[in-house]
Symmetry: none
Subunit: 204 residues, 4 copies
C-alpha cells in the first residue's frame, strides 16, 4: 500500500516499468478482451512482479482507462471534417479515409472499448465526452457549409453530425471488429463517402 496507487513514478526506472505495464496491458486487452484479462497476464507479459502492477495502477479498470485515453487521443486527430477550405466533398472523403485508417490500426482496442463501455459508467462518460467534442467540430463544419450555401439550411447541423458519425463509426466497427462481411473495403468506404455527401447535399 503506497496509499495513492497509480501515482506517477518518481524515478526513471519507475517510469520505464509503468510504460511497460501500459504497453503490456494494451497487448493483453487486445488479445483476450477486458473481461478475460487477468492482472497476472499483464504483469507476466510486462515481466514484472504481480505486486508491481499495483504500484502504478489501482485496478484493472484504471490501467484500461489510461490505455483508452491514449487511444482516443490518437483517434481524434482525424475528425470527420478536419479543417475549413474548398471542395467539401473531397474533405469528407479524406476525413473518412483517415478515420478508417486510424480505426484499422486500433481495431482490436476499439472492440475492447465497446465492451467496457457496456458496463463501466465511468468509461461511458469518458467516451461520451470524446464523442461530443468530435461531433461538435463536425457540426461547426456543417454549419459553415450552410452559411456558404453548400448544405441546405433545413438540416440540423449538430444532429446530422452525430448521426453521420454514428453511421461511419458503427459501419467500421461491424466491418473491422466483427468482420461482418468479406467483400472489399473499397465498396464500404465508397458507400460511406457517397451517402455522407448526398445526405448533406454537398456538390460532388
Amino acid at each position: 500500500m503506497r496509499d495513492e496507487p497509480g501515482v506517477q513514478p518518481l524515478t526513471e526506472r519507475g517510469a520505464r516499468t509503468r510504460e511497460r505495464l501500459l504497453a503490456a496491458a494494451r497487448e493483453v486487452f487486445e488479445e483476450r478482451g477486458f473481461l478475460e484479462t487477468r492482472v497476472a497476464h499483464i504483469t507476466r507479459h510486462a515481466r514484472v512482479a504481480y505486486g508491481s502492477f499495483y504500484t502504478y495502477f489501482p485496478s484493472k479498470e484504471a490501467v484500461f482507462l489510461e490505455v483508452a485515453d491514449r487511444l482516443f487521443a490518437d483517434m481524434t486527430d482525424h475528425d470527420l471534417v478536419p479543417s475549413a477550405g474548398p471542395e467539401p466533398a473531397a474533405r469528407v472523403r479524406r476525413a473518412n479515409r483517415a478515420y478508417y485508417e486510424a480505426y484499422r490500426r486500433n481495431a482490436k482496442m476499439m472492440a475492447i472499448i465497446e465492451q467496457v463501455a457496456t458496463f463501466n459508467a465511468e468509461f461511458q462518460e469518458l467516451r461520451r465526452k470524446h464523442r461530443a467534442a468530435s461531433a461538435e467540430r463536425s457540426a461547426k463544419a456543417i454549419a459553415r457549409w450552410q452559411r456558404e450555401g453548400l448544405v441546405p439550411s433545413d438540416i440540423d447541423a449538430e444532429m446530422a453530425a452525430r448521426v453521420l458519425a454514428s453511421m461511419v463509426d458503427r459501419s467500421l466497427y461491424l466491418w473491422l471488429v466483427q468482420g461482418n462481411d468479406p467483400p472489399g473495403t473499397e465498396r464500404l468506404l465508397e458507400t460511406l463517402d457517397t451517402l455522407t455527401v448526398r445526405a448533406l447535399g454537398l456538390p460532388s
Copy 2:
C-alpha cells in the same frame, strides 16, 4: 441451444416454470445487465428453487440467448422498408418511426444485447444473421427503387442498406440506451429520415 438437457419441458407444470424463468431472466437482465446477473437473482425473481434453473437451461448464457432470440423476432417485424409500394420517402419515414418505437420498447434489453455481443461469439453470430437478413430486405427495396429510377444506380444497394441500418441503429442506441443527449427526440428522428432519404436521393 435447443437440444441441451432438459430444455423442452414435458409437463404442463414444467412449461409454466420454464416460462417464469424466461420472464424473470429478461427482467433481471434488464435491471442488472448480463454480467451482474446471478442465477440466484433469476430464480428468486421467478420464485423458483435455485436448482430448478438447471432443469430448464444448461447455463446463464443459454437463457440469455433464448430471451434475445424472442426479442429479435419482435424487432424485425419492423424493417427499414417493410414493403413495396409508392411514396418511398414516406415508407422510409414510417419504417424509421416503427423501428424507433420497437427500440424504445426494448431499450434495456438492447443495452444488454450489445454487452453480450462484445464477448460471446455464439451470440455475435446469432446477431450477425439477424442483421444480415434485415439488411437483405432493405437492399432488395433499394434495388427495386433503383430499377424504378427512384434511386441513382451508382449506389451499392447492399452496402447502402447496411450502412444506413448502422446509422439508424447506432443513433438510437446512443440516444435511448446511453442517453447521450437531452434535446428532443423529434429532432433526431427528423434528421434520420432526412439524411436517409437524401443519401438515397429519393424524391421527397
Copy 3:
C-alpha cells in the same frame, strides 16, 4: 452468492452444517486468535468446503459475533449479585466464584473477545451493552443494600458497580488469560471477595 448470506438454513442438513461451522469457528478462534484465523482453517476444521462458509456467514467477523454472542449469554447467567436475600457478603462471594468458574471455562474465548474489542467497533458496542446490563443489575443490588442500611449511602451505586466489575473482570483476565502469576487461585479469589466486601462496607 445467495445474496443475503448468513441466513438461517432451511433444511435440517443446512442447520447441521451451520452448527458445525460455529463450533469449528470457536475452536479455531480459541486456538489461533481472531487475527490468525483463516476462513480456510474453520472450514477445514468443520470438514466442509471453503465456499460453504459463505453460505452461512457473510464474513469472519460475522461468525465471530455469533460465537461471542452465545458466550455472553453463558457468562451473564452469573452476575455479581444474582438475587436479593440475606447475607450480602456471602452473596458477593458466591457471585465472584460463579463468575470465576464461567471465566475459567471460557478463558480462551475471553482472550479473543478482548482482542476483537480493540479494533472492531460493532463488537465494542455489543460488549458495551452486555457490560451495561450486567452493571445495572449489580447497581440495583447495591442500591437495595443502601436502603437496608448495609452499605453506606455516600457510595455511588452505579459507579461502584462498574468499578468493582472492572476489578473482578480485569483481575480474572490477567490471571486466567495472560497467566500473569502462578500463585494460588484461592489467594486471588479471597482478595477479590474481601476487597469487594470492604469497599462496599458490607458486614462480613
Copy 4:
C-alpha cells in the same frame, strides 16, 4: 530490540531521522491503531523515504515496542502510592488523580497498547514486567501500612495491590478509551478513591 540491524544511528543526521520516525509512528498509531497502520503511513508522516524505515527499525513491531517503552516510562512516574509518608488516604487519592492525568494524556496510545497486547507475546511480556514492578511498589506501601497498623493484616498485600491496580486501570480504560459512559469524571475518580481506601480499610 536494541541489537537489531541499524538501530543505533551513528550520525547526527541519522539520529534526527530516527526521532522523526518514532514521533511519526506514535502519531500514526494513535490515529489508526497498530493493525491499520502501514509502514508507508509512518514514513510519509515523517517525510522520510519508505526504505529509510528499515534503516532504523527491523519491523513495524519494533518501532511500536519502542514507542510503548517510552510511554511506560512516562506512565510509571505515577504509581499507586508513590512515596511513604502520613495521610495514606490522601496519598491514594493523589496517586489515583496523577494516574488519571497520565492516562488521559496517553489515552490513545493506551488503546493501541491493549490492542497489541492481545496478539504479540513479546509485548505482553514487556507489559507484564512493567505491571509487576508497579504492583511491587504498591504492595510495599500496603505492607508498610500494615506494619503501621493502618491496614488490616489479613489482607494479602501483593494480591491487593494487583487487584486494585486492575480496578483503577480497567476503569480508566473503559472510561477514557472506550468512552463507556457520559456522566462526570469526578464521580468515577471519587468512587475509585473511596473504594480503594475502604477496601484497604485506611482511615479517611
